[in-house]
Symmetry: C3
Amino acid sequence: MSLRTSAHPSDLLTLLRERQPLVQCITNAVVTGFTANVLLALGASPAMVDIPDEAGGFARIASGVLVNLGTPTGEQRDAARAAVAAAAEAGVPWVLDPVAVGALPVRTALARELLLHKPTIVRGNASEILALAGAGAGGRGVDAIDSAEAAEEAARSLALLTGGAVAVSGPVDLVTDGTAVVRVANGHALLTRVTGGGCALGAVMAAFAGATTAIAPGSGPDTDGSARASRALDAAVAASSVYGIAAEHAARSAAGPGSFAVGLLDALAALDAPAVRAEARLS
Amino acid sequence: MSLRTSAHPSDLLTLLRERQPLVQCITNAVVTGFTANVLLALGASPAMVDIPDEAGGFARIASGVLVNLGTPTGEQRDAARAAVAAAAEAGVPWVLDPVAVGALPVRTALARELLLHKPTIVRGNASEILALAGAGAGGRGVDAIDSAEAAEEAARSLALLTGGAVAVSGPVDLVTDGTAVVRVANGHALLTRVTGGGCALGAVMAAFAGATTAIAPGSGPDTDGSARASRALDAAVAASSVYGIAAEHAARSAAGPGSFAVGLLDALAALDAPAVRAEARLS
Amino acid sequence: MSLRTSAHPSDLLTLLRERQPLVQCITNAVVTGFTANVLLALGASPAMVDIPDEAGGFARIASGVLVNLGTPTGEQRDAARAAVAAAAEAGVPWVLDPVAVGALPVRTALARELLLHKPTIVRGNASEILALAGAGAGGRGVDAIDSAEAAEEAARSLALLTGGAVAVSGPVDLVTDGTAVVRVANGHALLTRVTGGGCALGAVMAAFAGATTAIAPGSGPDTDGSARASRALDAAVAASSVYGIAAEHAARSAAGPGSFAVGLLDALAALDAPAVRAEARLS
């Protein structure tokens, strides 16, 4: 039974600030610092717990979990398996960012395996979503070759498979729960000139999913499938929108990609719900 | 026999700038870059040597060693064991930052093991110090749940156990050698919004300990216990104070956590001894 | 047969911006983020693919490969072996940055082994180049103890051994293909106060080598030795010069090492060919 009560990104930002979700990040070596700083600026609490004997236990007490496959060492792969299994069992939302899946073999196999635990949100560029859905050949790394729209059907089918949401990054982000499709037109091209510009968005999605899930009464695995998918959609849309608006603010005074990245953290911290309500461009 | 000749943080900053201590950092994947930049801005020389067959040999020639347990991979755990044993044997001061100890099992066991080599300085938040002293249940990661004051007794007993100093981070930092207690009221809340804000302070303590220890004539393990503890206390107080003053300077012109982190590096490089003498708030 | 047609750094910058070379980085944990941001700001596309079962295959499709030995974990060492063998076989240019070679045993052995695959460019400070050429004792980490000039003979003999170029960093960089020697007087002392200041230059060299190599018709291993060496020399000189000019621009408005690092990224993105033509100081 669907309890579709779509929450606006501005309301979810307020909620996130109140709840300060604890986000476990298992992510790549390039973007760890930037990702943690984005979460702190937003109002969430990051924790990088990514060794095998600690990751599963921590996932049970985290508000949300991010698994990003950018530089998957052996220990990280085992940690990801443990964290995802624990999160799925405990009803903790988790986000899969399948960096360069399709183009590289180890992570492609791992992503397919993790997918069985039904990620709350999958976030990637069109090449990655196409590859994960079995419909594309993969990109050449973190760059999007295909446009977000090209992955709409793949994203829908992937969302129906996971019972969650799928977000495809592009000039206009596309987010779907398999049924509804929301386009988020916030963001700025400078995000593609900063490493972690996309990866950090995955962490922001885990933060919003963590804040949102905590609303639901009870614990344990979600049993109401469509409510789960709706919440996931709302969280992914809120993350794309809030992050994109902050990027727009940062771009106004940036002299290039260096000052843009610094300004993005300042803008995330300064952003408030009224600005998000006024500036979110959803369709 | 105590030779308590307390050195002011301003004098120790001058000494550090002259000696440019070489600081070996075995630290977590999130904060490596920021930690190295903090050390360089301060006037120290960072070296991340954290693989098993290199860490021990390097610790013998380093001025100081930092072991931070934030993301302890298998290789880092072995490297930490080797570095700490070598440092202890060679009389090189070393700092233990027991990130999330108490909350997570692998690092908790490792921290207890490393403690046998008597760290010159232990630096953590109240939850971590309580857990390491066996008096608390541990926090939920890098966040302090308990106030620094709550850990005073635990810090004292831990310092008496190690024969060094223990520093507890909080709005007012508390530093003790088991006998004397110094409170450092420098710092700024924005440090908690930047990843590595606390972790980098551990490296700064290793730099001050390295610069201070080099004063002592002779080499090999310290035999005069109370002189060792006093020097450790002075180094930890100097680090907290200098780092905190730089944070205050940076906060004046920061627009948020992003520009604050950038400004902190600028402020550390610009800070001079007279400013530290004028602005240190010790009690 | 030499086809020495020396290309000016300004022309190579234009070429790099057109070709957007894909640069595989196997680099140390401290500088991953900064290195990727430098490449993105410059106009190249970074990819950190550094696990054993992916690194070799990716090296075949990359434009250039960087192997930096700063924190060589076991997996990275195996990945470097695979990437370098594949790059050499496929004619993909690769850069070796032998961080702290001579001073530390594991990386020294690995660097000697990788050298057999004839790096297109070797980039290091004088201590590292002397050690790699078998003529020095090694430094104390990433700091240069010897001046660049002190390593001229070692650099020449190393270049003749690899059939590529060797670049020695210092206040004035020295680049040689074993025959010609070019001195690049661009740069700024603040680069030594930012972690990754030197390491990122190695990645920039891989980007220029990738952009330059793609001009050559055909594929597979280079057979014309002197053309290979000349192209490598041009690429290394262009990288040193472009990066150094951007550093000079950034230093003009920097308040310290923090704002300098941010400004360096902005300056790299803003730099155009006419400025490089006017400001390159080669001799």
